[in-house]
Every structure is written in structure tokens, then in C-alpha cells.
Amino acid sequence: MPENRNGATSPAPRGAAKALSAEAVSGQGPDVRAERDHLAISRLADDLLPALIAKLTAGGLGEIEVREGSWKARLRRPAGSDEGRGVAAWSSLDSHSGHGHALGRGPAASHGRGTAEERARRAREEEEAEELARLPIVATSPAVGIYQPRKDLAVGIRVRAGDRIGTVDVLGVREDVIAPADGVIGSSLAEAGEAVEYGQELIRIELSENARGLDANGADREAAAVLGEA
């Protein structure tokens, strides 16, 4: 398992998110929804945010996004900033939220309340994690500008979460395109020199069976990289 989605953290339950938003749309008044949103925000702020900041500071990640209920939280380390000075954004999920939000699907904070319900939720989350691990991860554009992939980038190269895999030129200032997870460079979704918008999908990062197998067996990551390049 890549380190940004290991046992210490687990993704928010997507199934629960669906159920919750469906419920919110059907029949509930705005007051109920507003109250729920307020509760969600305060809980996310109290529990989740500190955990996410810690995660962002500790790992080499450029950005983390977590969804919970009908809300998502995104933390991004500003380009070239010191450690830990992340910027958080909250948003309510919308019907198109799949677009451009594929970053850092994995980590969510686990809240330390050991109720049965909590244990059941964790079990669900672990299942979700398994499912998510099989999906391709996509590196997205940090800004609106002109995209250039890293010169030596090619399909099959192994990258680690937090690696710079390209840049987006914003009026002469380069902002880094960061690999959101450990994996292998997959297909390109944008051309070098192309104008890209914020959040645009640029490069697939694949978690190939091969790479994961090696990781599981404790094989050397360098060896995996060599295999990937071959």
C-alpha cells in the first residue's frame, strides 16, 4: 500500500456520502440541511482539519482532499511554501464533483471514539480503501496557465507522492504539478504547452498490480522503478 493511504488513515465512506446527500435532497427542509451543514463543518474543523494538517506536514503531499457526508475538505500546500502552511478549502459536493477532484483520495482522519458504530464505519472505510486503491489516480493542475510535463517523464516511470511531475506557468511563475500518490506514470491527459485550467486532469498515476505486489512483498522501491522504466 502506498504510504499516504495506509492503516493510520482511511478514506471517508463514499457510500455514506451518497446516502446522506440523497437524503438531503429528498424531503428535508433547508433548516434541517443548514443545521446538518453547520454540524458537519464544525466537526470537520475540529476533528479532521488538525489531522489533515499533520498529514500534509509529515508527508510529501502537495494536496489532500477528503470527502465526508455531503462535504469535502481540501488542503493544499502553496507552491514553494514552508512545511505545514497549507490552505484549506471546504465545499459542498455537487453533481460534477468527480471532475478534477481525483487528488489524494485516500487519507481521512480516524476519529478516536471507539463505539461499535465507529468500528463498523472503519470496516466500511477499509473496504473503500481497497476499492479506491484499484482506481487510477490523476494529477491535476494547480493553477490556470501553460502546462509543461517534467522533461524526463515517460509512461511507466515510478513516482512518489509529492514528486514534481510538471509545471504550470502562471504569468512566468511556475507552479508545480505534484504526484498525488505513489505509483507509475500512466497516460497523459494534456499536451506539453497546452493552456490548462485549475483542477484540469493532466497525468494518470497508476497503481499497477506489479508495483503493488512488489510493495506488498517488501521489495526495493528502486527495483520497482527500474522495472517500470524498462
Binding site: 433547508p30 465545499s91 490556470v144 504569468l171
Partner: protein, 454 residues
């Protein structure tokens, strides 16, 4: 003329600018934040580009993001709308440095009029009466001294503020002592500038503003006035033109003096001069807004002039093409700001999904709104859902059309102030044209809400 304009705003004004661009036959690109991906402007635009996350500081308020979007999409001008970067001289300067045109006054003009206090002195020198007030307040002792000289009650105002934010009414020296430091730190937090000044508070006053347009060649016209006296905590709710507070002679005099003063003071582009009119009909200049205003549609309805098209034309360096005699204001128009807030719950802003939406119609009815059924109102920005404007040959008919249109307007799924508008229209003080800016705050909204629920 420009070939393509980047619209660096959201909501109803992004849509309004898109419509103006289409009308005059120029391309437009809608710049939107991640939270506005489903916005109507982004959907209707031929081209739209995501410039950043929902946090406005990294999207609509980010000069690099906005300018980069204009550059990569091949735009030659940026329309900032209102709010956000619309009166930011630094932004206007950087836009120009990238070979693009800022649709609004030049950076120099914005800078010239950036300080409210300096602008008051400037326009006073050009013949506009201003409210007795202080210079920048050095400290609490200075504030107390100035308040004595001007006489209580006084308003403490942040120099860098706008839209009534951060203003405080102070009635006694003791109140001033209690609030001075707080006002200063609030100003610092809200506007990044803790400079404060003080003004005499006029009791029963009306808010009247004059719309002007000045081209690069110094040709200038006024487009009449708007009365924005129906306010809640200094936020405008209903606007109308002409103002019931002025006689025809007073109106002509004020409009002419306003336009003469701004031209002499070096203003350029579209602008609005705001005045407070006291119970004797005396108008005091308070500030100039160097941008298109939310309430511009009522002026358009009475004059038939597309103000945003005119603004784009001026920014492109073209002459106005009309003179004062061509501006004929007909009839009476009223605008209602439809807000997602709950009048019976201290006007708390409401987010959520629009389950149903139906805009009213009929003669003289105009709806500027970005709503559609299924639209999710994002919680990050202001609560303006749209503006309903009505026109009729006279004020009584405009009120009747306003009420009929408000009854038709349907916004299902959100709590709005539609019923509050109807209650205000039915109120005798409004019918008599005697609303003062403090009325809603003084009597509270409860009687209006209660009347509306009958």
C-alpha cells in the same frame, strides 16, 4: 473594440456582462471558481475557464489567476464586475502591464479616488457639499476632540471600507471611548487598513446616487439618479429611480453639479456618486463608486441605455457617442434585491439547492438572476440570488407591477426575502416615498415580516 473579454466575476453580474458582450458582438470567456462550475454563466458561455478553488482569495480575488486565464484564452480585456477586483488599482495596473485592458477606470484614476476621505475633499473643492467631518483620526483623544467640534451623533468610518461595512454610529463621548479601538482593529481585519475618519450623522436621511459616464476625451453625461434609501444595516435592499426625495429642479441641479465635479476632478469611465439627502433636501456627497453598480438595471430601464455596453465602449477608448440631450429618462423603475436570507431569523444567509425557480414576466418586468432549478447556491459568496426590476410610466404603477412580479417569482428550496419586499411595498411610508435609510433598522424587520405573513 475588444475581440474577447474575460469576465472575472460570478453570479448574476457574470451573466449580465456575458449578455452585454453578446449584444455588442464581442467574444466572452467566463472565469469561474471550482464552486461555480455549475453556474449559469459558465454553462451559457461559449468559453469558460476554471481559475481556482472556491476560496475567492485564490480565484476571483487572485490577480495572477484572473490575468493568466485572460492570457491563455486570448482575451484582450477583463471585466471585473462589482466587488472582488473591480476597484483595485494594483490589479488594474498589472492588467495593463500584461497588455490587456481593465474595463473600468485606469489604475491612475482608481488610485486618485481610492481614499474616501481624500475624494471628499477633492470633490468638495469642485463644488459638491460634503458632510461635516474629520480628517484621518490620529488617536482616541483626536477622535473625541473632532466629535466635540462636529457634534454628536457621529459615524466612525473606515477609510478603506465600502458597502457600509465597519461603520459605527456613536452618540456620546462615552460610546466613542468604548468603540474607537474596536473600530480600528475591525477596519484592520476587514480592509487591511486601520485608518478611520468621522462624519456628522444625519438623522432622517435619504440615499441618492448619480450615475455618470465619462469618456477618455472628457465628454461626460449623467444618467439620472437612483434612490437607495431602503436599506438594512447600510446594505441596499430596494432601489428606485427617479428619487421621491427630490423635486425636478433639485434633481437637475444635483445631476449637473455631480457630473461637472467628477470631470473637473479627472474621473473617467462609468461611476456613481453617492449622496445623503437630509430632510431639507440638501445633498451631501459621501463617496464615489468606480465600477458598475448592482442597481444599474433601473437606470437602464428608464434611459434605454445599456450601461455595461457603454462601459466596455469607454474602456476601449471610444467616444461616448451620445450627449446629455440624448439621455431621456422615462417613467419609474424599482429594483428588488432577492437575497438568500431569512428575514424572520435575523437575516441569516441561507445556502442550499434551488428546487424550483420561476422568473416573473409581463410588461416592464426584468429579472437578472443566475438561478435555475437544481442549482446549488454555494455558501462561500454573497447571498444575492438575483434582481427583480420593474418599470412603469409612473411610481404607483411601478409599485403595482413590482407586487405582481414578486407574487409570481418562485424560488423553491431556499428561504428568501421576497415576502419582505412585498411587505415594504405595502407599507404606507414606502407608498408615500418617505423611507429614510435608518427606517428598517429603527423599526426592525418584524413589523414588515408580520405584515407580509397576513
Amino acid at each position: 473594440m475588444f475581440s474577447k473579454v474575460l469576465i472575472a466575476n460570478r453570479g448574476e453580474i457574470a451573466l449580465r456582462i456575458l449578455r452585454a458582450c453578446r449584444t455588442i458582438g464581442i467574444g466572452a470567456v467566463v472565469a469561474y471558481s471550482e464552486a461555480d462550475r455549475d453556474s449559469l454563466a459558465a454553462q451559457l458561455a461559449d468559453e469558460a475557464i476554471c481559475i481556482g478553488p472556491s476560496d475567492a482569495r485564490r480565484s476571483y480575488l487572485s490577480a495572477p489567476a484572473v490575468i493568466s486565464a485572460a492570457v491563455v484564452t486570448g482575451c484582450d480585456a477583463i471585466h471585473p464586475g462589482y466587488g472582488f477586483l473591480s476597484e483595485d488599482e494594483g490589479f488594474a495596473d498589472v492588467v495593463r502591464a500584461h497588455g490587456l485592458t481593465f474595463i473600468g477606470p485606469s489604475a491612475e484614476v482608481l488610485e486618485h479616488f481610492a481614499s474616501k476621505e481624500a475624494t471628499r475633499r477633492l470633490l468638495e473643492a469642485h463644488g459638491l457639499r460634503t458632510i461635516p467631518g474629520s480628517g484621518m483620526l490620529r488617536d482616541e483623544a483626536h477622535a473625541l476632540e473632532e466629535a466635540e467640534r462636529i457634534s454628536y451623533p457621529v459615524l466612525i468610518k473606515p477609510s478603506g471600507g465600502g458597502g457600509g461595512k465597519g461603520m459605527r454610529l456613536v452618540r456620546t463621548a462615552r460610546e466613542l471611548e468604548a468603540t474607537f479601538k474596536v473600530s480600528r482593529s475591525e477596519a484592520k481585519a476587514a480592509f487591511g487598513d486601520d485608518a478611520l475618519y468621522m462624519e456628522k450623522y444625519l438623522g432622517d436621511n435619504r440615499h441618492v446616487e448619480i450615475q455618470v459616464a465619462v469618456d477618455r476625451f472628457g465628454h461626460a453625461i449623467h444618467l439620472g439618479e437612483r434612490d437607495c434609501s431602503v436599506q438594512r444595516r447600510h446594505q441596499k435592499i430596494i432601489e428606485e429611480t427617479p428619487s421621491p426625495a427630490l423635486t425636478e429642479a433639485e434633481r437637475q441641479d444635483l445631476c449637473q453639479r455631480a457630473v461637472r465635479a467628477v470631470v473637473e476632478a479627472g474621473y473617467e469611465n462609468l461611476g456613481t456618486l453617492e449622496f445623503l439627502v437630509d430632510s431639507r433636501g440638501e445633498a451631501y456627497f459621501i463617496e464615489i463608486n468606480c465600477r458598475i453598480q448592482v442597481e444599474h438595471p433601473i437606470t437602464e430601464m428608464c434611459t434605454g441605455i445599456d450601461l455595461i455596453a457603454l462601459q466596455i465602449k469607454i474602456a476601449a477608448g471610444e467616444p461616448l457617442g451620445i450627449n446629455q440631450a440624448d439621455v431621456v429618462s422615462r417613467g419609474h423603475a424599482i429594483e428588488f434585491r432577492i437575497l438568500a436570507e431569512d428575514p424572520s431569523n435575523d437575516f441569516r444567509p441561507q445556502g442550499g439547492q434551488v428546487l424550483g425557480y420561476l422568473a416573473p414576466g409581463g410588461p416592464g418586468v426584468r429579472m437578472d438572476s443566475h438561478l435555475y432549478p437544481g442549482y446549488e447556491v454555494p455558501p462561500y459568496y454573497d447571498s444575492l440570488l438575483g434582481k427583480l426590476s420593474v418599470w412603469a410610466p409612473d411610481r404607483a404603477q411601478a409599485i403595482a407591477r413590482g407586487d405582481a412580479a414578486l407574487r409570481e417569482l418562485l424560488v423553491d428550496g431556499l428561504t428568501t426575502n421576497i415576502e419582505l419586499h412585498r411587505a415594504i411595498l405595502a407599507n404606507q411610508v414606502f407608498i408615500d416615498g418617505k423611507v429614510t435609510t435608518d427606517l428598517l433598522d429603527r423599526v426592525g424587520s418584524a413589523p414588515f415580516v408580520a405584515a407580509g405573513n397576513r
